[in-house]
């Protein structure tokens, strides 16, 4: 869907992109991560021609971006930035409806679309006529995402969209985005400097430094050995631990009977009732929570309460095996 080949870009004497090549398939969410100044925002902007490249090729749907009319390209690309940039003089619904209006969609197509998007991103319909200055930072960003998706573009570009939101709301926004992406399956290029955010939302991660891609892979693959020392350092020593947050108990194989019940040291115990002290883990609990509980209760097998109120068991071994699998 998106393909960059050997892209170079400099601002006056300052090189921003020095030979970047990457490709993103349809429906994938690719994350560009790196320190400030590494060129990730610039790279993002080459795709909708907010920035024109000096050398190399940027192709969208097989066609070079220069072959599209810039306005046509941009109307088919959603764009979310950190400051959101909502139009202060227009209401929420007018903001969201802007691109469809530019594309001259009929009214009866626009209104349900706006409402659908607001529902999907968790905004109450009462916000339709609110003005941007009445919204909180998180709410404004949700409107920004809706606005970007309004005309159903195949590609979504996001430049540190959740950066200016406080940590609690940021997590909520990430979850909302993940849910949205599950539903809509857009091709997304997501820029961030936050490693945790990257491995939460991304299917594919590109680590950048000084205008080049130094490492790429799925979140799991990046936990394995890497050539780039920089990438290793940037992702951090606790990367595998952070990676655990990405997967949930649902990703693991479950048994109806406890297997080698025992604590982490290996000694056996007989029965394993559902612990009454702590609330039971569910299928949605992420693996970090699972591992924490295992350490807390000192055992390698844990009961999971499923949605249909049945109990299944997962093991530490399965967890490690899953991680290993993801890193291939």
């Amino acid at each position: 869907m998106i393909q960059l080949t050997n892209v170079y870009k400099s601002y006056q004497e300052q090189p921003a992109l020095q030979g970047v090549s990457l490709s993103v398939s349809e429906g994938q969410c690719a994350v560009l991560i790196g320190p400030s100044g590494c060129g990730k925002s610039t790279l993002l902007k080459t795709i909708n021609r907010m920035v024109d490249i000096d050398e190399g090729e940027v192709k969208v749907r097989g066609k070079a971006v220069q072959e599209y009319e810039p306005e046509e390209l941009r109307r088919n690309t959603g764009y979310c930035i950190q400051g959101v940039g909502l139009f202060p003089h227009l209401s929420v619904s007018e903001n969201i409806a802007m691109v469809p209006k530019l594309l001259k969609w009929p009214e009866d197509k626009i209104i349900p679309r706006v409402k659908l998007l607001m529902e999907l991103s968790g905004l109450p319909l009462s916000y339709l006529d609110k003005k941007p200055h009445q919204l909180s930072g998180g709410e404004a960003q949700r409107v920004g995402v809706c606005r970007a998706l309004a005309a159903d573009p195949p590609i979504l570009l996001m430049d540190e969209p959740f950066g200016s939101v406080d940590p609690l709301n940021r997590e909520k926004l990430q979850q909302a985005f993940i849910a949205l992406q599950k539903e809509l399956r857009k091709t997304v290029l997501f820029v961030t400097h936050d490693v945790e955010e990257a491995l939460m939302v991304g299917d594919l991660i590109f680590v950048m430094n000084q205008g080049k891609v130094v490492a790429e892979g799925t979140p799991g693959q990046l936990a394995g050995s890497m050539e780039s020392a920089f990438a290793k350092e940037f992702l951090g020593k606790e990367y595998p631990m952070k990676l655990l947050k990405r997967y949930t108990a649902r990703d693991l194989p479950m048994d109806s009977l406890p297997k080698d019940g025992g604590d982490i040291t290996g000694s056996a115990t007989e029965d394993m009732p559902l612990s009454l002290k702590n609330p039971p883990l569910t299928e949605n609990s992420n693996l970090q929570q699972v591992l924490s509980r295992m350490l807390e209760e000192n055992r390698t097998t844990l009961p999971i309460l499923r949605e249909d109120d049945t109990v299944r068991y997962i093991t530490y071994g399965a967890l490690v095996a899953h991680l290993k699998e993801m890193s291939q």
Binding site: R74, N76, G83, G85, H89, L102, H133, G144
Partner: protein, 391 residues
């Protein structure tokens, strides 16, 4: 009257001064300076008692304030309405002043308003400005002031006499003044906005544009007028057809040109500031959505800059209404013609007659445009706090 106490006390101070300063001047005719008289001399007149009563109410009100410590009484709401009558009744009283000692020719005798009256008027305005609905109350005071002359209760008022003498000319000059001042602003709006947009888009041209436009504000208006007159005279002599259209070296043409140029700075500078204050993320989003340049301008930049642009137009209008007076010096008419005529004839009442409409129109235009500006500000997503940061 709890808040705005300073204005209230200042207003009272002015009114107290009105008691001691000369309140009117009796002149046997237009030229002689005449004799001044004070408030106490008026007390022989029954009409004078009207405002003495009002003054007593004022005192009582103040006293109640002091004693009750500023607590609310129903009298607080009624009082401002009564106060609007004060200047008008004062005016009537002054105008009815007649001395018995000397007999004057009733045709020519006139009574001018002196500093005491004006201070009393200002004091009233100040006190009224502390309460609610002040715009309406100001209007009411002004309307009441017009009533006595219209009803013929003030036949000897100097202002009225001057007005009656030049009545047709007055309205003609007023019309010319307004046309000159307002049309030049109207025509300057479009170029001003274009220049302002030029400043916003082209960083290199910015300095030059602003410096050029600033030139007209720095240069003394009279010298600009005079300098424009010279080529216009030459032009109209070379091409007589221009003279037929009214474009001559003197008259409205040089005044119009200078006024037009003078308006450019406030409009240009404000347009540039208006565009500049639009957040970069907003314009970035607009471009990223696939809006063309003109769409970005009309859908985003211009609406958001509009309140600031309007503020520039407001400044230009008030400036122009004042500057048009100079047109009177070069045969362009307007209220300036009255003012300078009064100056040359040593008739200060004629000068006041010329000044008052200009001040009134300037105040009205300013308030009117300001209200539109604030409405626009809210519509374009401004908030209550940001609205009160603009003057």
């Amino acid at each position: 009257m709890k808040q705005g106490n300073i204005k209230g006390w200042l207003g009272l101070l002015f009114m107290a001064l009105a008691l001691f300063l000369p309140i009117g001047t009796l002149r046997p005719n237009r030229i002689l300076p005449g004799t001044t008289f004070h408030l106490y001399s008026l007390l022989k007149e029954p009409m004078a008692w009207a405002f003495v009563v009002l003054g007593l109410i004022l005192m009582a009100f103040l006293w109640s304030l002091v004693i009750k410590g500023g607590k609310y009484t129903p009298a607080l709401d009624v009082f401002p309405w009564i106060l609007t009558l004060l200047p008008a009744s004062l005016l009537t009283a002054i105008a009815k002043y007649e001395t018995i000692e000397v007999v004057y020719d009733p045709e020519v005798v006139r009574i001018s308003l002196s500093s005491g009256f004006w201070l009393g008027l200002m004091g009233t305005i100040l006190i009224l400005s502390t309460g609610k609905r002040k715009g309406f109350l100001f209007l009411l005071t002004f309307l009441f002031l017009l009533v006595p002359p219209l009803l013929g209760w003030t036949p000897h008022l100097a202002l009225l006499k001057e007005f009656l003498i030049i009545k047709p000319t007055f309205f003609m000059e007023l019309q010319r003044h307004l046309v000159l001042a307002l049309v030049s602003v109207l025509l300057a709006i479009l170029p001003g906005i274009l220049l302002g947009y030029g400043c916003y888009r082209f960083q290199r041209g910015r300095e030059w544009i602003l410096a050029t436009v600033n030139f007209f504000q720095v240069a003394p208006t009279l010298s600009l007028l005079a300098l424009v007159m010279i080529p216009l005279t030459l032009l109209s002599q070379a091409y007589p057809v221009l003279a037929d259209w009214g474009i001559r070296g003197i008259g409205f043409a040089p005044a119009f040109i200078v006024l037009f140029c003078y308006c450019l700075l406030p409009i240009t500078a404000n347009t540039y500031a208006g565009f500049d204050q639009v957040e970069q993320e907003v314009t970035e989003s607009a471009v990223a959505m696939g809006m063309k340049s003109n769409q970005v301008f009309w859908k985003v930049l211009f609406p958001l800059a509009f309140p600031v642009i309007l503020s520039g137009v407001r400044t230009a209008v008030t400036q122009n209404l004042g500057n048009t007076i100079l047109a009177g010096l070069i045969g362009g008419g307007g209220m300036g013609a009255l003012i300078f005529l009064g100056l040359s004839q040593s008739a200060s009442d004629l000068v006041i007659l010329g000044t008052l409409p200009v001040v009134l129109f300037a105040l009205i235009a300013d308030e009117f445009l300001r209200r539109i500006e604030i409405t626009a500000h809210y519509k374009m997503g401004g908030t209550y706090d940001s609205a009160h940061q603009r003057v």
